[in-house]
């Protein structure tokens, strides 16, 4: 037992230095004013200001939309993939884009969506006037969803893939149609994957800031943007940390809501 703990030392050091300590520092910072005195003012500011509450609402709302769209795209895709012959290969192709740097992909979208980008060229070719695509809510959601889709597909695919083929046969055998089999067997048994996918997409989407700036053109302001502004522009670290704490709380709430429900046994 002692030996096994020994192997955990490198990672626990990492955890303490780069996860534990920053969180504690941030928590402490959130109770400090600009002049480094203890204060609750940051929390009062945050909760008392319509702007911040609207930002929080925005963050949650956009994260919800992004999650919903990725879910709508990913579930059928995962279902389709799990029935393919070389499914692991096709899955790999879907995972592949996640290996490319996020910033690089975002810039690629600027090239596609900008005023004289590829999409507008195509629109012009069809005889329409070029449209403002970049710096819109729609483009922000599109790019965010594009980036998050693999993280939704992977857990859902895994959960569907784990469903025993004979359960599906049993369902047909007992008279279920395709839809009934989906509704009563496949969907409930892939619920864990859906939950994991929602966690993997919703939580990071709460604090997006790079895409809001590059694709959303800062028209969409979320808590992520606000944190960046406070740390880098206004230098109000106290308020920035407070928003960070709020984000962590929001993540904990999301985790709690999507946690694996205890299997029901006796009623």
């Amino acid at each position: 037992m002692k030996n096994r703990l020994f192997y955990f030392i490198p990672y626990s050091l990492w955890l303490i230095l780069f996860v534990g300590a920053p969180i504690i520092l941030m928590l402490g910072e959130s109770f400090l004013s600009v002049s480094h005195h203890f204060t609750f003012a940051n929390y009062q500011d945050f909760l008392g200001s319509g702007t911040y509450l609207r930002m929080m609402f925005n963050s949650v709302w956009y994260a919800f939309l992004i999650t919903l769209i990725t879910l709508i795209v990913s579930f059928p895709t995962a279902l389709f993939l799990s029935n393919l012959k070389y499914k692991q290969f096709w899955l790999l192709l879907i995972i592949l884009p996640t290996w490319i740097n996020l910033l690089l992909k975002t810039y690629a979208f600027i090239g596609l969506l900008s005023k004289d980008g590829s999409i507008n060229h195509f629109i012009e070719l069809l005889g329409f006037a070029p449209q403002q695509l970049l710096f819109t809510d729609a483009s922000f959601i599109l790019v965010a969803a594009y980036i998050e889709i693999p993280f939704m597909i992977l857990p859902i695919f895994n959960s569907i893939n784990e469903i025993d083929r004979s359960l599906i046969n049993a369902s047909y055998d007992l008279g279920a149609t395709k839809w009934q089999t989906f509704r009563r067997v496949i969907l409930p048994l892939s619920a864990d994957g859906i939950r994991a996918g929602i966690q993997a997409v919703f939580i990071p989407s709460l604090s997006l800031f790079m895409i809001t700036r590059l694709i959303g053109g800062n028209r969409v302001i979320t808590l992520g943007t606000a944190i960046e502004e406070h740390f880098l522009v206004t230098q109000n670290w106290g308020l920035g940390s407070t928003i960070g704490v709020v984000l962590i709380i929001a993540m904990i709430i999301t985790m709690a809501l999507t946690r694996e429900r205890k299997k029901r046994g006796r009623k």
């Binding site: 055998d173 279920a176 048994l189 046994g265 006796r266």
Partner: protein, 361 residues
């Protein structure tokens, strides 16, 4: 009285290059307990899947109740399956599992409750309705799977090696229960197994399969006593199989001697295989023996001794005896003419039946 419920007419099944069924013909009559018996890869489960509708025949006709059902989907067939791994829905409790089929059909709640209760009683699981699946032992899951299948009132129940995951004692008990259940309900059971003992104990009729073909079908006694070829003789029970020559009708020569037997209808001096079951052989004094053997080894099996010996022609003999023998001693081996079973090389089942009809009045 007996009515054909399922018929296969020259059914084949191939996956890409490999042919798993090669022209199977079979007839299943309503109300009997059938067993498809064979080693793994013999095609027995494939037949079950074709009946259930989980896979499609490459060619040939599958007839159910007089109608061709090749293109009827699984959920429209009046058969239900008990799966090898039970395939109970882990997201539902025992009640919901058993009620699954009826819920789909929109049967009203009162009726469902009644039926589920009686089904669970039938498989001796009354009071388990609210349990979740992972709380049940293997044997209990097995029973739920049977209840779930039977709750749909199928005309035919398909059982895909349902007992293979159970321990020996429980397997024996379930054999009796399944047999008893089948006789009580009068539903046709088609049971797939690789366990010959199970097949002999439970079935009205056995199909012995190997390499995608049905080699022999018949009652357990027929198959045990009159195996048609080397494979069947070896697969069903233990056998001594020795090369011999059929001198003339009712006279066979093997191990260097001529013996009287009860088979006929072959060419004079035809080369054959001779089958003698270990339990039909008795040890006696060398003077009274039809053959003289030397005892090589013996092991105690509880209800009998398994003795292995060789004769002067170096043929191996397996003998089941109630009393132990003495190692390396010379003993007489004796058997009755009826115990000798003759197998011709490459004789089909039809030829065999025809030959039997010729000399048996």
């Amino acid at each position: 009285m007996t009515q054909t419920i399922i018929e296969f007419k020259n059914v084949t099944k191939s996956y890409q290059e490999t042919q798993v069924l090669t022209g199977v013909d079979l007839t299943i009559e309503a109300g009997k307990f059938y067993t498809l018996l064979g080693p793994s890869g013999s095609g027995k489960t494939t037949i079950l899947r074709l009946i259930a509708g989980f896979s499609n025949a490459t060619s040939g006709d599958i007839i159910f109740d007089g109608k061709r059902i090749n293109d009827v989907p699984a959920n429209k067939r009046r058969v239900n399956t008990v799966f090898q791994n039970y395939a109970l829905f882990p997201n539902m409790n025992v009640f919901e599992n058993v009620a699954f089929g009826m819920t789909l059909k929109g049967v009203n709640k009162v009726q469902i409750k009644e039926k589920v209760t009686s089904m669970l009683e039938m498989v001796q699981l009354a009071g388990y309705a609210d349990r979740s699946i992972d709380e049940l032992s293997g044997g209990q899951q097995q029973r739920v799977a049977i209840a779930r299948a039977l709750a749909n009132d199928p005309e035919v129940l398909l059982l895909d090696e349902p007992l293979s995951a159970l321990d020996y004692k429980l397997r024996k008990d379930m054999q009796y229960e399944l047999r008893e259940l089948q006789q009580r309900l009068g539903i046709t059971f088609i049971f797939v197994t690789h366990d010959q003992e199970e097949a002999l104990a439970m079935s009205d009729w056995i199909f012995v399969m190997n390499e995608g073909k049905i080699l022999q079908n018949g009652s357990p006694v027929d198959i045990y006593d009159e195996p048609i070829n080397h494979f069947v003789a070896n697969f069903i029970g233990e056998s001594n199989i020795i090369d011999g020559v059929m001198r003339e009708d009712y006279k066979v020569m093997f191990a260097g001697k001529e013996f009287e037997n009860v088979d006929a209808g072959m060419r004079p001096n035809e080369r054959v295989e001779v089958v003698l079951r270990p339990e039909d052989l008795d040890l006696t004094t060398p003077e009274n023996g039809k053959l003289i053997v030397t005892i090589d080894a013996q092991s105690f099996r509880g209800d009998y001794y398994e003795i292995s010996a060789h004769d002067d022609d170096n043929n191996e003999w397996r003998i089941q005896a109630t009393n132990p023998s003495v190692l390396n001693s010379r003993q007489g081996l004796t058997f009755d003419p009826e115990d000798i079973h003759i197998m011709r090389f490459d004789e089909s089942e039809d030829d065999y039946d025809a030959r039997l009809d010729n000399y048996e009045e």
